[in-house]
């Protein structure tokens, strides 16, 4: 193309317009945040520039005559097993810009096994009865937090028993599911409202992420986990006491070892007030917590937060799944955390360097199995609940995660998919055409909280029904009976080492 870098035509998508169906109504022009569609004055019709298309499918979804098709552009590069097209394009891009390759959510890593897909669930046959969840009660209620080693009772005057053991604060969930941390700023206010309302209706929790909690959302506090991260954005006494739990975020699965960066353009008035940062200035979360350099330091922060919240709520520590995750988790529990959240490498993000997202960390399945085993071996599993996160795609993944040892799972990518996200991975541009990862007033209103909350509620209801079906099939009537019950899992096509780490047998055994 004229006046453009020579590699501009190596774009990812092609817009195919059905000439018979297109009526030039301009809906696509109004919907595209990247200006891939435009009105050509001289031709008097809608035209498009394929090079600008990010593959978000917004135009295709809203085209009233179904005239649009977004297709992957067939790569013209010669086949090469080593130099896959994405690597070639990365190099062209970096040769042009000299910068770090930024990406958003939807980890596309292809060569690392998705262990969920290699695990199969059991079902009852003949020797033990399966349970029909439509006829019999099925318990999905989950409590997160420390559990006592034993329960002691005393007798009251009239002879009835009274609990003597002092119980630790727990978070009560109607489903073993929570919306993971997505900060106000990285996603907009409409979606925070939607998540808060959905979590309240469902009796589960959502997580504020690092970005504070808007004053109008304090009313949903019972279903909120407030997060404290390395930038301490939006953290103050009222905030710490607003939720049902406090989470210290040490790491994120999509970008272990690095901090966060909310660009100044995304810091509007509301975000600025909630985060307690100046309007329009970049909000940078450091890579480490500058006050945590050891388990002892973490212990201090955990108890500082417990003091600040008067020991009313459990404190969670969230870490990214990395090589030594089991030992770290053990340290976290010994430091006094009531919940350990582990975020696998396939977790989502609003912005992360592509090299980090695709190459750092380990899959959640392996990390989860190892953490659960380690805490059991050390006899401290009851002292903390485990929450698994990072790439939970469906209810079967949830069931497998619980069988591997999780108490509950965090999911966010699935929640955003429910409200329209198509995983185009351009969250970092701040121009999300689906109105999700953007604070642009014109784009953000594409998320109507009424619609979004309903969709999130529907998704969790659907998963809940499916979880009940799977539990019933296994002859279990409570999610508690599945937790860490690896006998309900079998592996297909995994090596002895992988099965050893996961603690499961091969199918057929």
């Amino acid at each position: 193309m004229l006046f453009q870098p020579i590699n501009r035509n190596y774009h990812d998508f092609s817009i195919v317009r059905d000439k018979d169906a297109c009526i030039n109504c301009k809906v696509c022009i109004r919907q595209c945040a990247y200006e891939a569609h435009y009105w050509d004055e001289s031709r008097q019709k809608v035209m498009h520039d394929n090079a600008k298309c990010v593959g978000c499918h917004r135009c295709e979804a809203l085209c009233p005559t179904s005239a649009l098709l977004i297709q992957k552009k067939q790569s013209d590069f010669k086949d090469n097993a080593l130099w896959k097209p994405e690597f070639i394009k990365y190099i062209y891009k970096q040769a042009d810009t000299g910068g770090v390759l930024l990406t958003g959510m939807g980890s596309p890593v292809g060569n690392i096994p998705v262990y969920w897909d290699k695990l199969l669930l059991d079902a009852s046959q003949v020797t033990n009865p399966s349970i029909d969840p439509l006829r019999e009660p099925m318990e999905l209620k989950t409590f997160l937090g420390a559990k006592p080693v034993k329960l002691e009772f005393t007798k009251t005057k009239d002879g009835s028993p009274k609990l003597k053991t002092k119980l630790s604060p727990n978070i009560e969930l109607n489903y073993p599911l929570m919306f993971s941390a997505m900060s106000f700023g990285s996603i907009n206010f409409n979606l925070h409202v939607a998540m808060a309302r959905a979590a309240t209706e469902l009796g589960i929790c959502y997580n504020t992420g690092e970005g504070g909690l808007h004053k109008t959302l304090y009313q949903y506090g019972k279903n909120t986990i407030v997060q404290v991260a390395s930038g301490r954005f939006g953290v103050h006494r009222d905030f710490l006491n607003a939720g049902a739990g406090i989470e210290i975020k040490v790491g994120q699965g999509a970008k272990p070892g690095i901090g966060g960066h909310l660009p100044g353009e995304k810091i509007n008035e509301m975000v600025s007030v909630t985060r307690m940062v100046p309007l329009g200035s970049d909000a940078i979360s450091p890579a480490p917590h500058h006050d945590i350099y050891s388990i002892e330091d973490l212990h201090q922060l955990i108890f500082a937060l417990k003091e600040a919240s008067e020991y009313r709520v459990p404190v969670s520590v969230k870490i990214a799944a990395v090589h030594n995750v089991a030992a770290i988790a053990s340290g976290i529990v010994r430091a006094g955390a009531d919940i350990v959240a582990i975020d696998g490498m396939r977790g989502g993000t609003g912005a992360a360097p592509g090299m980090i997202r695709d190459n750092v960390g380990i899959p959640i399945e392996l990390a989860l199995a190892q953490v659960d085993q380690r805490l059991r071996d050390e006899g401290i599993r009851n002292r903390a609940s485990i929450v698994a996160a990072g790439g939970i795609r469906c209810s079967a993944d949830v069931v497998k995660a619980i069988a591997l040892g999780a108490d509950a799972v965090y999911f966010a990518t699935a929640a955003l998919l429910a409200v329209g996200c198509t995983l185009c991975g351009k969250c970092y541009t701040g121009k999300c055409p689906w109105g999700i990862a953007t604070n642009d007033a014109k784009l953000a209103k594409r998320q109507n909280p009424d619609v979004a909350a309903k969709k999130m509620v529907n998704l969790v209801h659907a998963w809940g029904h499916e979880i009940e079906e799977m539990l019933g099939g296994m002859g279990l009537n409570s999610i508690e009976s599945l937790r860490g019950n690896r006998d309900k899992l079998r592996a297909v096509g995994l090596s002895d080492t992988e099965m050893d780490i996961l603690g499961v047998k091969h199918a057929g055994r």
């Binding site: 169906a21 009526i23 109504c25 301009k26 809906v27 109004r30 919907q31 809203l62 009233p64 005559t65 109105g435 642009d440 007033a441 014109k442 209103k445 594409r446 109507n448 009424d450 619609v451």
Partner: protein, 148 residues
């Protein structure tokens, strides 16, 4: 009465309501024919207009007021208030194209027909089984028909 209420907070300015309106009031009931043939040839136009200013947009159409200024202004009796349904009705045959109603309407919700001396005004899709087409088509539920 149930009116169509726009919500400017969630109107995304896609103009799909206008397309739905055109289709619902076309002879063909086919968007492609309505937009390309009937609109250009016969001046078929939407009773609803999306107004935009900065990031704000809102889809406006006849409010079917309790005391409609247009009915009071109408010199030919084409505009009437239907006491039963509450709708402000328009009789195309009686209309003489004087534009008094256009000037009287406080919402600017009445438009001139592009080709004839007639007006274009929302009829709440009274004969459409699923209710107003714009409400059904809005992808963000920014239009609602309800009692308020």
């Amino acid at each position: 009465m149930k009116r169509v209420y726009p919500n400017k907070d969630y109107c995304i300015g896609c103009h799909i309501c206008e397309l739905a309106c055109i289709t619902a009031h076309s002879k063909s009931k086919d968007l492609i024919l309505a937009y390309t043939v009937e609109r250009t040839g016969e001046g078929l136009s939407s009773c609803k207009r999306v107004h935009e200013g900065g990031p704000t947009c809102v889809a406006l159409s006849c409010r079917h007021c309790d005391e409609p200024a247009c009915v009071a202004a109408c010199i030919s009796g084409a505009l009437q208030k239907d006491p039963e349904s509450g709708r402000t009705t328009y009789d195309r045959e009686k209309c003489v194209g004087c534009w008094s109603c256009l000037m009287a309407c406080p919402f600017g919700a009445i438009a001139r027909h592009p080709l004839e001396n007639k007006i274009v005004k929302c009829d709440l899709c009274f004969d459409r089984p699923g209710g107003p087409a714009c409400v059904a088509a809005c992808p963000n539920q920014a239009l609602k028909q309800e009692e308020r």
